[in-house]
């Protein structure tokens, strides 16, 4: 029953929207640190997390930085495997074409396999 997890990417699922407290930031930090440690990282935007990809975000009214600047840095950290849950996108009226970052859509059929083939899995 053991699978060979050493070659599996580390997966961070991001399900919280930007400017919604610290969840999205904290999830991204785990991904950045894992990548800095040389681990292959997959980021999956799902549920309200797809709002992190919406164009036109700004800093918050109290000076909160927001997470869009961090997304600009992902490539520098060698995090290039960005996926987005297609169902969540459609539910929120977003299309892949309008997203400023290069993400690959994951259909409902393909979603379980994306999650099952990663280790460890962090869900934020």
């Amino acid at each position: 029953m053991s699978d060979d997890t050493a070659d599996m990417p580390l997966l961070v699922i991001l399900r919280h929207a930007p400017h919604d407290g610290s969840w999205l930031r904290e999830g991204l930090d785990v991904a950045l640190v894992a990548a800095a440690f040389g681990r292959a990282v997959t980021l999956l935007f799902m549920g309200d997390g797809v709002e992190a990809l919406r164009p036109g975000q700004k800093a918050g009214p109290l000076g909160q930085k927001g997470t869009h600047p961090t997304l600009d840095m992902l490539a520098m950290y060698d995090i290039e495997d960005l996926r987005v849950d297609a169902t969540s996108l459609a539910e929120r009226g977003l299309s892949i074409a309008e997203l400023p970052w290069p993400v690959r859509p994951v259909t409902a059929e393909a979603l379980p396999a994306v999650i099952a083939s990663a280790s460890p899995v962090f869900n934020f």
Partner: protein, 137 residues
């Protein structure tokens, strides 16, 4: 890091604060149970509001469970490492003696067995332990 036959090394991640959310209660109950089953609870990583579990200043009423003390007992009895994400902790006022001095604060709120640690140790725990279970709000 091979485990003994059938014995698994667990890491828990706690993302909820004590009392405010159910996460801490569930994590403690799960931790107890896995030890009873003969597994090892090697590491607990506190992140997000979970860092509030590390406060040595917690003063719950006498007729309620003392959750911070429960973690301390676990560490003392089982050798469980209690790691507290330093970035999440500092923002929320959970500072050990060194950080309190560094930041010119009048008091410190975190002491051993709770130890401030980087997110790298959360990643490490996920990679090296047999099982990682997260308790969230």
């Amino acid at each position: 890091m091979a485990s003994e036959q059938g014995k698994l090394r667990y890491a828990l991640v706690v993302l909820g604060g004590p009392y405010s959310q159910a996460a801490t209660h569930s994590a403690l109950r799960f931790g107890e149970a896995l030890i009873t089953q003969g597994h090892r609870l090697d590491t607990v990583f506190f992140y997000h509001d979970g860092v509030y579990n590390a406060s040595r200043l917690a003063a719950p009423p006498q007729d309620e469970p003392h959750l911070v003390d429960a973690w301390v007992r676990l560490a003392n009895d089982q050798g469980t490492e209690l790691l507290v994400c330093v970035a999440a902790a500092l923002r929320r006022g959970l500072l050990d003696e060194r950080e309190a001095q560094r930041h010119g604060k009048p008091a410190f709120s975190v002491e051993p067995p709770f130890v401030l640690a980087g997110i790298g140790q959360l990643v490490e725990a996920g990679i090296t332990h047999d099982r990682l279970v997260t308790f969230a709000p």
